[in-house]
Symmetry: C2
Subunit: 344 residues, 2 copies
């Protein structure tokens, strides 16, 4: 198996990306292609040890898509950018998956334009694993698209359930619709129409409406929502977790000698806690609904996060989820999806 890794994407690229690739190549059996500026990548590789026999290669590219650029324009104009070239390697069968910690918009656009959507899927969806006390809840769409139609949310539900089952190993995953109340009649027009469609599906275990609190509490395996809401929730959660840890520090600082000793004794506990609520531990999120394995890591990914992402991407490739999605769409009579297959 070969993974195309966007070496130029992310807040700490290329250094941490290259470091992560080396870690992953030592840990997993897959080959890794570092896609990006060859001289910069070689410079970073020099800092790593024991790299001689690793299955790492470099694919040189001359351009980089920056965070602020308009995704569609950038992907169309910068044909030799790392994310475009890496995605094309999957399209051409040279690699089995692409992974990037760069601009999410660019990665999504490149995947849509180059890999294309799965026949019958109206819009791809980012499925982000949110840490919970008993594992993760998959939140999708967490930002690939906004103003989605009910049928797009339904397709997200199907794809999320299959990913949860075949990649995360959840049996008969419980799918919820993110809403503002438990009752079927609650919510905005989008949610009400989506509910009506979801409850008629035969291939997924639809558990009704999920409220905001159900996500971190882990009461559903998969929670479906519009990308606008999902993205807001995701960033709110990151901000809140960081804020709470910051407040604990502040209170410890203000709390005198007892608190400081207490904090010292609790260091291992807090380290474990951080591990459990830290998004980077989860390595990233698949973009579901495109014809190929595309994996999006957090912009702030360090080497460990990249390595973890490569591990999950490997599991994703092996899982055959793409075929399962096609089969499910057929079973749900969504092929060919008149409403869903024609627009981005």
């Amino acid at each position: 198996m070969k993974i195309a890794l966007d070496a130029m994407g992310g807040d700490y690229a290329p250094a941490e990306i290259v470091k992560g690739a080396v870690m992953a190549a030592k840990k997993f059996p897959c080959e890794i292609v570092l896609v990006g500026d060859e001289s910069k990548i070689r410079e970073c590789l020099k800092n790593e040890t024991d790299t001689d026999n690793l299955k790492i290669s470099i694919k040189h590219t001359s351009e980089v898509i920056e965070m602020g650029e308009h995704p569609a324009d950038a992907v169309r104009n910068k044909k030799d950018s790392s994310i475009v070239v890496a995605t094309r390697m999957v399209k051409d069968g040279e690699c089995d998956a692409v992974l990037s910690a760069g601009s999410t918009g660019a990665a999504v656009t490149a995947a849509q334009l180059i890999l294309k959507r799965i026949h019958g899927i109206g819009r791809p969806s980012i499925a982000t694993p949110i840490p919970t006390p008993n594992g993760v809840t998959l939140l999708l769409d967490s930002g690939a698209n906004v103003d989605s139609k009910p049928e797009h949310l339904v397709q997200s539900g199907i794809m999320g359930a299959l990913y949860a089952e075949h990649v995360l190993g959840k049996k008969n995953p419980k799918v919820g619709l993110l809403n503002i109340g438990e009752e079927e009649t609650k919510g905005n027009e989008q949610a009400k129409e989506t509910y009506a469609l979801l409850k008629n599906l035969t291939t997924i275990n639809f558990g009704g409406n999920a409220e905001g609190r159900d996500i971190p509490q882990g009461n559903f395996d998969v929670v479906v929502c519009d990308g606008f809401v999902g993205n807001v929730v995701l960033k709110f959660g990151e901000g809140l977790a960081t804020t709470i840890l910051k407040l604990i520090k502040e209170e410890v600082e203000a709390g005198g000698i007892n608190s400081k000793i207490g904090a010292l004794l609790l260091k291992p506990v807090m380290r474990n806690l951080k591990k459990r609520i830290d998004a980077s531990e989860n390595g990233g999120a698949p973009l579901l609904g495109v014809n190929g394995c595309c994996f999006i890591s957090h912009g702030s990914s360090d080497a460990k996060a990249i390595c973890s992402g490569i591990g999950i991407a490997e599991g994703y490739v092996k899982s055959n989820v793409l075929e399962h999605i096609k089969t499910a769409l057929e079973k749900e009579n969504m092929l060919p999806g008149k409403n869903s297959a024609t627009e981005i």
Copy 2:
């Protein structure tokens, strides 16, 4: 000043509500009217001490609106329910504010039907204070309405800014529009249209788009969004905060003797932290946009939360925010609002 308190609303009603009223009557100069089942209220009052000279009275009502009931039907049919009678007391000038920890839907509907909306306001908005390291961020609408139009969000911005200034004491409060990116062009249709309107306002300090993480970090004083998104975010935050505290406990349990001693030493720190992130410390949220002071407390409010809510409601009445809103609507040329004044 006289506050009508819905004694029958909330998970711990009437006991905690009555207890909270007694606490508030001892702490604040206002009079409190306990609205609800007189015999039950008297029963609860018996458990309280030193109540002889307190300015507390009882207004008997025979009905209660339960949490599961359809708000509009319930408010229309149960004319002698505590929330309807309490709201009517404000309408009739017998009281200056109404406060309820019962069904939010019922409180909002009662306020809309009985107090009516302020002339020019299309939809009322719940303004919930979210704890941040440096105070609170006001999030509105956090659940009064869904599928709002851009002009409703704009009006929320104006009302939220005036509440933040005159009740929370923030000078020139910075208003943000909740969105999925900083740039003006980001977001769904609703957000893009709202941005275009907000930036042309003259009476508020519009600071551009706010992302999810900006809310808990306190980077804006007021954050405006659709009630669907606001409600999801609010409940997600509650769930996440509870989950993190639960995880800390779990890790301490699993962590051996050092962790347990550490946790003991850190007890005051954790108590302070809980205080700072606990919604009940903030007492509740005003329903802005109706002709009268209506205050909504969390369903799980205990006596302390009710007491704190009464304190803030008192400040709200004194602040004259309703008049400020009317003046601002006039200045922004939103009077009479053709698009906004006709529908609920």
